[in-house]
């Protein structure tokens, strides 16, 4: 895997999660207190950075065979999960992620809570809301940085890609002071899901002792193949949903949970 592909995969994955985390930080800052929301986001980023820095060297010291099996399997499971969600959204079974709706819901909840100061944090509720949001959304990114980075012995590069995505998303959000509803989140999740699934399958099989025909060039067939399969599944789901709508005379109801 080239350095460029590694950077791109981590950057795209991190962009998706950073958009979701930024929505929560914006809600905490707008409804409560910007300083507390900023402290919360910074504290969560510090925890995630410490986790990556602490676990990174330990992972890279493991022999490449077992490492590829475990890391590849983790990437594969994560990737299939992302892909499944993206296919269900593209197929109309689940609604697309609504950053504006999530922002309004968080804003309403945050406005109702009482304020109290803890040490140098002016508003503990705003701090906690921001901290939890960034930590939860960032955990998947930390997993991707560690798995991609350790497998290629390039954790600093993977970390730099994650940092670049966070900076770009944070700068855009600060500029507009609103949730980034126009980011094509599902398309990004689709691309990242294909990449995670493809690289995860490739590495985990090599770690398990199998050999791909053509070596690394097998990825040139594997990645487009997974993308085509996913697009066909989304297309089939969409056709089925439209059929249901025609039969029932209305849209199937869906519940968005994450």
């Amino acid at each position: 895997m080239s350095a460029g592909a590694l950077f791109l995969a981590v950057f795209l994955a991190c962009t998706v999660e950073a958009v979701e985390a930024t929505t929560i930080v914006l809600a905490a800052g707008t409804a409560r207190d910007w300083r507390s929301a900023g402290y919360g986001a910074a504290a969560a980023l510090l925890v995630l950075t410490v986790a990556v820095v602490a676990l990174g060297p330990a992972l890279t010291s493991i022999p490449i065979g077992p490492l590829r099996l475990v890391i590849g399997a983790a990437l594969l499971l994560l990737g299939v999960q992302w892909l499944r969600k993206a296919v269900l959204r593209a197929g109309g079974v689940r609604p697309l992620h609504d950053e504006t709706g999530i922002y309004q819901a968080k804003l309403a909840a945050a406005r109702g809570a009482a304020a109290h100061r803890v040490a140098t944090v002016p508003d503990w509720y705003g701090f906690t809301l921001s901290f939890q949001g960034v930590l939860l959304e960032g955990t998947e990114v930390a997993l991707i940085v560690l798995t991609f980075g350790s497998n290629q012995h390039a954790i600093p590069l993977a970390g730099a890609a994650a940092g670049a995505a966070i900076l770009v998303v944070a700068a855009a959000a600060l500029a507009v002071r609103a949730p980034l509803a126009r980011v094509p989140e599902n398309a990004l999740k689709f691309v990242v899901g294909v990449m995670l699934t493809g690289f995860g399958a490739f590495w985990s099989e090599e770690g398990a002792g199998a050999h791909w025909p053509g070596g690394d060039t097998a990825l040139l067939v594997l990645l487009p193949g997974i993308a085509v399969l996913s697009l066909l599944l989304a297309y089939a789901l969409r056709r089925r949903s439209h059929g249901l709508v025609r039969v029932a005379g209305g849209a199937p109801s869906t519940v968005e949970t994450g």
């Binding site: 999960q81 269900l88 197929g91 199998a210 025909p213 996913s230």
Partner: protein, 73 residues
């Protein structure tokens, strides 16, 4: 207290990796085990995991599509 937090953290990380359909995760791990077994023979083993993805992903998506509103994944 500490053990409880560690358990909660492990459960959270597990949920992140396994996701909404645990049967897919189980099927893929089983396919990897079969790959490891077949790779010790003279037969090619690279197709096992691919076949598992080709079966498990459509099945999981189709099941979720049939459930519609009931799916949380």
């Amino acid at each position: 207290m500490m053990a409880g937090r560690l358990r909660a953290a492990a459960a959270f990380l597990g949920a992140q990796v396994v996701g909404d359909d645990w049967t897919v995760a189980l099927g893929l791990v089983a396919a990897l085990a079969v790959t490891a077994g077949v790779s010790r023979t003279t037969l090619p083993a690279w197709w096992v995991l691919l076949a598992a993805i080709l079966v498990l992903l459509p099945l999981s998506v189709w099941r979720a599509g049939r459930r519609g509103a009931g799916d949380s994944g």
